[in-house]
């Protein structure tokens, strides 16, 4: 699976950016981060992370609508990433675990999926938790 310069078609599913479809995903070298750039609007760029790098127990159940929207039949074809909000100071940056981006690496179709159970994951969870600093298991507080 190549991550460098992969194009994905979000079909207007990134909330707030319903007019945008095509994005390019690149890994940011020597970091655990990725960048997602709109092809149609060069001003729109997101920083992403793989949730499993930060929350080993992150899980989500996609509904049939979502699977159909990106024509996903094989779980191995799905790549899940979450949008990071970079903040100053950097240590206060957050991750949106509530609304992951689901990308089908086979066909390039992608969608933002909103986890309906708000008790499960926050849209503004700290990127860096004390547990990571201490080297323990990561967890997210739900608010």
């Amino acid at each position: 699976m190549t991550l460098l310069n992969s194009d994905f078609f979000f079909q207007g599913s990134i909330l707030g950016f319903e007019n945008l479809d095509k994005f390019t995903l690149r890994s940011i070298s020597n970091t655990a981060f990725y960048q997602l750039n709109s092809v149609e609007d060069p001003n729109i760029q997101f920083v992403l992370v793989h949730p499993f790098d930060w929350l080993s127990n992150y899980e989500l159940n996609l509904n049939d609508n979502t699977l159909e929207r990106i024509d996903l039949s094989n779980a191995e074809d799905a790549m899940v990433m979450n949008i990071v909000t970079l903040k100053e100071p950097f240590s206060s940056s957050t991750v949106n675990y509530m609304a992951p981006l689901i990308m089908n690496v086979k066909n390039g179709l992608a969608t933002q999926y909103v986890i309906q159970d708000t008790r499960q994951y926050s849209s503004r969870a700290p990127l860096i938790t004390n547990d990571i600093v201490k080297g323990g298991d990561a967890h997210v507080s739900t608010d």
Binding site: G16, A32, Q35, V47, D53, W54, L55, Q116
Partner: protein, 74 residues
């Protein structure tokens, strides 16, 4: 906005293929069942607003590579 009065168990049909079922009513809470085609996204409005706001705040103009390099994943 069209306002309709419905009782428990009654249904509102929107267009050809969307049905809103009033499943139960308890105090100020109403349980609603929605039957809609797969391509119709059904979400609580406040969730959509929360995610939209979070997405808009997340748009990044400059990436500070040194900061990103300083973070090790778990």
């Amino acid at each position: 906005m069209l306002v309709l009065t419905r009782k428990k168990g009654q249904v509102i049909q929107i267009g050809k293929d969307i049905e809103i079922h009033v499943v139960s009513i308890e105090g100020d809470q109403i349980k609603i069942g929605i039957a809609a085609p797969r391509e119709v996204v059904v979400l609580r409005k406040e969730l959509i607003e929360e995610v939209r706001k979070s997405n808009q705040e997340a748009v990044t103009h400059q990436i500070n590579l040194d900061q990103l390099k300083s973070v090790k994943k778990n």
